[in-house]
Symmetry: D3
Subunit: 331 residues, 6 copies
């Protein structure tokens, strides 16, 4: 069993030098444990959280450097403490392991996708109770992570809570399983029903009528940002979760960073004006994370190469991740 992770996963390209045994853990990079080939995986089986990098963005419709986010994300840990003052909780009381990155092929995207499915399956099998956090990568990876989850636990009915500016319901016959297609991919493969999908934050002139029609036909649930603001982000997410929980066993949370307004998140491949504020997204993620049926999540379409100097998007993506962890801890 020892080698279950290798060679299927690559270790992170670097590791932070950790404080000595017994020293105070103050920052996130002191806390999250890289799971190297030489570790005993059995010991980490009960980790509260599993982080896996999914550095694939060659499947993105527009040019994307989202493949660089897993590394930028790990670098950003250093800027965050494990302690959350708002909730007075310390993540370091829980355990998190970093299992490294799904290996990718340079010119065979199908093989990349297969690797993600296989990795997701293995992780969900091995880490039975852990929350698996996939750090993308473009949005095509969501379909693969969910497929892996399904293979690992074929009896569980899966629902999806999505924060997104787009439907991501494009037809796959034209261009294959790109980042515009993950939700359709899951519907067509029969793994997730349209009516078990809840998409929050859509807005503006960034979807087509056809996609809306398809969404309606499939019973996909969606809430424009304007509607969400009227109801309240907390209330909207809460209501979605309640509905979803009544219908499925497991909820997968996917955060497409392009749901944010361009002023808050310039580092996404297709940044748009009129999106969510940071405060709104963080509140939504916190509410979602508190729900006991949310068992896996991903953060996608964050392109560090398009970020500005101060790295607002990389930092915000990392904050989304930590907020998810805090929410789980508060359950």
């Amino acid at each position: 069993m020892k080698s279950f992770l290798y060679p299927k996963l690559n270790p992170p390209s670097f590791t932070w030098v950790r404080p000595d045994e017994g020293a105070e853990v103050a920052k996130v990079h002191d806390w999250i444990q890289p799971l190297s080939a030489s570790s005993d995986p059995e010991k980490s089986k009960d980790a509260d959280f599993v982080v896996v990098g999914v550095p694939l963005s060659r499947s993105s419709i527009s040019a994307s450097g989202a493949s660089e986010f897993p590394e930028a994300f790990r670098r950003a840990w250093k800027g965050f403490t494990t302690y959350n003052l708002d909730e007075d909780i310390d993540l370091s009381e829980m355990t998190a392991v970093d299992v490294g990155d799904v290996p990718m092929h340079v010119t065979d995207i199908m093989r990349c996708h297969d690797n993600i499915i296989a990795a997701s399956t293995a992780l969900h099998q091995h880490f039975e109770t852990s929350k698996v956090c996939a750090i993308g990568g473009d949005h095509s990876i969501t379909a693969m992570m969910v497929k892996g989850l399904h293979q690992a636990r074929p009896d569980e009915k899966i629902g999806i809570l999505q924060f997104d500016t787009h439907f991501d319901l494009r037809d796959m016959t034209d261009n294959g399983p790109s980042n515009g297609t993950p939700m359709r991919n899951l519907i067509e493969s029969g793994i997730v029903e349209g009516s078990h999908m809840y998409n929050i934050g859509l807005h503006g002139f960034f979807n087509t009528k056809d996609l809306k029609k398809y969404a309606d036909e499939q019973g996909v649930n969606y809430f424009t940002l304007r509607e969400t603001r009227k109801t309240g982000i907390k209330e909207t997410v809460g209501a979605c979760l309640e509905e979803l929980a009544a219908k499925v066993d497991t909820i997968y949370l996917t955060v497409d960073m392009d749901v944010l307004d361009i002023a808050y998140a310039p580092g996404v491949p297709a940044s748009t004006p009129g999106g969510m504020t940071t405060a709104e997204l963080l509140e939504g993620v916190l509410v979602a994370a508190k729900h006991p049926k949310v068992k896996a999540m991903d953060i996608v379409c964050l392109d560090p190469l398009k970020d500005t100097f101060a790295q607002p998007t990389v930092k915000l993506g990392t904050h989304v991740f930590l907020t998810f962890l805090a929410g789980v801890m508060l359950r």
Copy 2:
């Protein structure tokens, strides 16, 4: 009549390659029709919208590249669909023509201004029922567009709804009709009365006491951003429109992009902290556009050369335009 547009207007410097006859129109650049010299203008006479570029910013007090916005604006169409999910409407059910740019002279600014007046007159005469959307350029163009509207329809009483950080009521005796003067220009030329002007969004330390005094003397109506937020943006704009509509025949909407907070719109010549959010401006424009007396509009003082890499300001300016169209469609 055929040549009414030429040589008075220059064609856009480039045209998007359009989808084949009958193919689906998905993006804005597939939809808006360039009106070339060889087109039959009679056919487009009933267009719902007319877009005209007004690439003049050498009349700006501070160094401005707002002359580059018409081209940047046309480039940005590619990033927007014609379908608006919030309202479930598709702009492609309406018609829009792009008549190109008002020709400018490099060293004779008066001639530029005269060209704008002439173009505005011609457009308002030819496109009798269309909404004319002028893409600036600096704010001096507003006085010229309104003068042209007045020449085309001398019997209509014109009012102005303005989103701006500034009064734009500077004295013209010092430096001529610069971008600091359009409202005073219109008052002094007798075309628009001060009391028919409504300015929303002023704030901070960006106006002088003298200008305030002049505004009060002329009966100009203005609402600071703080007041607007207390009342609500929707309510404030609604009340202004109601008052205006009781007094005038035609309302001209002018959006100075510097009304926005610098975090949302870095690409303006004099960006300031403390301004509107994107959500506020878009809501205000939508409300305004729904009013049946609003017949023309402009977007000014957007300098693409000062924008950051992800082009938040160019995208937002384009979104303001599309939101205006959506509002008109919802009438």
Copy 3:
């Protein structure tokens, strides 16, 4: 007494060319008077405001160019008028002097700190009724400015109102009086009691549990941004001031620019997502400035070298300063 300023203070590196005697004062740089060695300090003794630059950031934990803010701040004056439209008041009816910068030593930080204490003492002694505005520099200067205030007026009990993402209560035994320590420094030196400190705006994963524990032990009052938003920024600040005023004679206001969200203030050494908006901070500062016991303030940790091209942070820092002045004028 005439030379009290020199050689203890350096003149600003440059001076704006002022309008002729009698000419209209329109912009901030026309108004604030530099106090040169040849000026008669007695004449300016009753100035409403005293501006002093404190260009020290080599005491910052992370690499910081906050030492460049005093010069950038003076440059930015040119972009602001003295007239505030929201309140219909004109700062030029009050008087403000710029006494220049506290001299710094390149390699002896203790001497820098001593110079700040000495300058603060001298300023508070000389300008008895003026509000002293210190333009940092990193947050270590706050402890020194307050120590100087204490030396000048040893009988006054001092309280602190702080806008900050952090506690700034780190232990000084490790790394001396760095920018992470000013509040602890003041507590340990017995100048300000923990219970006389009110910190507003803390959030996220940017403090440690130990610091929270220390804050609690010392009775430091703090309000996370989330709590503040629930109560209202105005209400929170108002309540803090009321409590403080009941306990102390003098309130010192310190604004750490990192309290702002990274989207609004990229130009700080440790910018974070999830912080205050510009509107919130300006409202908080205005409320604070109106309180009669607030007699001094500073703006710290603004690094112009990390700002984006349009200088949003430098402009916002300057706006915070002007808002403070407006608040005082409204008393």
Copy 4:
């Protein structure tokens, strides 16, 4: 025959508005003719130059936006005249057609490569005497363009002149035909012999010993930048061409923009210090273009998304193209 281009090639996404029939052609964008579906391809058969965009960079090892270069390249035409003062020649005396872009698939890279081969074959068959200029895209496209040339003219022996920092001789068994492999790809497919390859400009710590060994085994000719500078760039290129011309029928020129020093070309995926200057590359390209056996060329690995604001790399890539044309005209 009329539709030979479609649907195999996509038209450029936009077209410049051309001067009227008979008007002076001054700028490059006035001159190069887009070949649309409705054009008569027979008429353009004898064009001196054929431009084809090859917007593929998902086959790049590191994250690359080189797929954006064809569009950026066409935009940049506007900044260049057709007249070259150094040589007193005017390109407008020759003819150039823009046949659009090779269509790409989002998730099937093999299909992209096949499309490039097919397009190259078709172009070389149709435009028998034209020089075909491929605008990449990453370096993987070179192998495909050459394969197409080979299919169109199987009897011609092909040699390659390469400007590059790298060998591009990586093993394809690991990651398929990525941008690190084109030269090996051509050797292994038997289309170009190693000894018919001449690579100029390699330098520094950017290749491995293994690749050098393979190059030596295959008889690949290469000249480090240091050697080239000693001999002279003109002399080195001249000598290579002479040798090559004695061995092959057709010479294909490939310019990898990463051969340039990072100070001159920041907009490449793997920019390096110590590379060529602009003057050196332009001189080398001019010499190469004058040789009668050079019949096709490409420009690859130029990533406009990594360029600085003034677009030095995009402009330089365009200049390389025009210099090639000038050289051909001087034959």
Copy 5:
């Protein structure tokens, strides 16, 4: 005579605080003396150098912020000492005065041009033996500065030495005296003969055949960068000066910063690849400055708003100015 400067010239917007009488002058900003309205102009009559800002760029064909250079230039003084190590000379042994800026009108470009002519005339009359250094602004100012020189000294025959990528010989009938026309302006006004113009550094695809023809017809002398490099920059400039000196009384040196390669000078309105290096331009300017007949100079088309963060172009423009001064001192 005392008020000759006012109101015709505006003082610089700010002045550096100067070292005390007798203190060491180390930096350029300690040395150059601003000439204020209250100064006695008679005292500065014999200054070796006169600096005048000419902040006009609304006459530029493309959007230009060159109007911001005079202020950026004065700011940059602080980064340079007066001592030149290469030549072991100290500029502070000479005298330089800063007379401020030519006043500009916002919307009347002709009046701006008239003001420049008037200012140039006045300066050349008053400062009979000084070298007048005009800091542009765009290239249209050169024609005006030379016209002023001609009016001041109508009997002197004037020649021009120009470093430029362009001829600047465009026809004025289309767009008036823009930045593309100064040389033609001077030829057509009969002030400078074509054969008394020497232009060094032209290159690439940035001029038209028509302009070349006009240059030839008028006998304008020009040397492409390639020719210049073959001969040597020093030798080329030397030979030009020798020829010019035999024909004219006074030589005016004009440096268009766009003569530089974009890698060295990104901050120009139309930056191009393939231009001069910094070393070449500085060498050329030094040789020119040493010639006794060179009596005035300008630096134009430097747009600080397009510069990168480290301000390479602003610094280089300032270095060009100082190198000119050093050359004069070495005469």
Copy 6:
């Protein structure tokens, strides 16, 4: 002996994940071995190279982020192979260890300097034959590294070869041992004689007459960039080394990155136009490194926070380091 490094040195903040035992070493980050607390230092005693980070820049006169270079430098390793094609040598045949960073104090600069001296002494004692490469940090560290070398080997006479734009001979009485003083510091402390210092690359207006006078009095040898170019960089460095070698036992090489032209190295605290090209500096460093008496070196004043997006300066600094290693290998 095992703990000689700790606690005096901090480990690097992160470590690259290394290839498995026996796997090919291709990139620099696969090769350089971090020497952790648990390593046996005896084993690495004979390392060819020792890398030590010296992250101090609070002693810099101007605001500097050079303290960030050691981390940026280690990150940059990933972009370089160990194989140098120009020389056909592979660094991986030698050994290099990374001993981590000298620990710094936030507010006590003297203690930082003492730590550097102590670390340098320890390293030179322990690694008797290794070349010690110090990665700064600002230039003040050079004096400390050399003092440590002197303490370790008091009998060796030390000479310095310096690449710099500045003398770095400022008086320490004003501001202590800042980055403007290291050479004077060494002269005054009697450790290195002025006549044993050779400074290459000075240029322009960046030094004062007083410093030149001091240099001459102390017999410091210096060569302006202009002189160096006339003689040839290789020849100049060669001649300096020959002279130095006749006078001293050990040569210390110090590379101040500000010797480079701003076009090549924007990421330095005081970047200047007119400096060295990349090719010149690399050639100079290679020649120096080949000399058998060169036993230690440093790279200073590289500020990654001022670099542009593509990181030209960080990459070039790393290339300088690798070139030094190659030169040593070629001895």
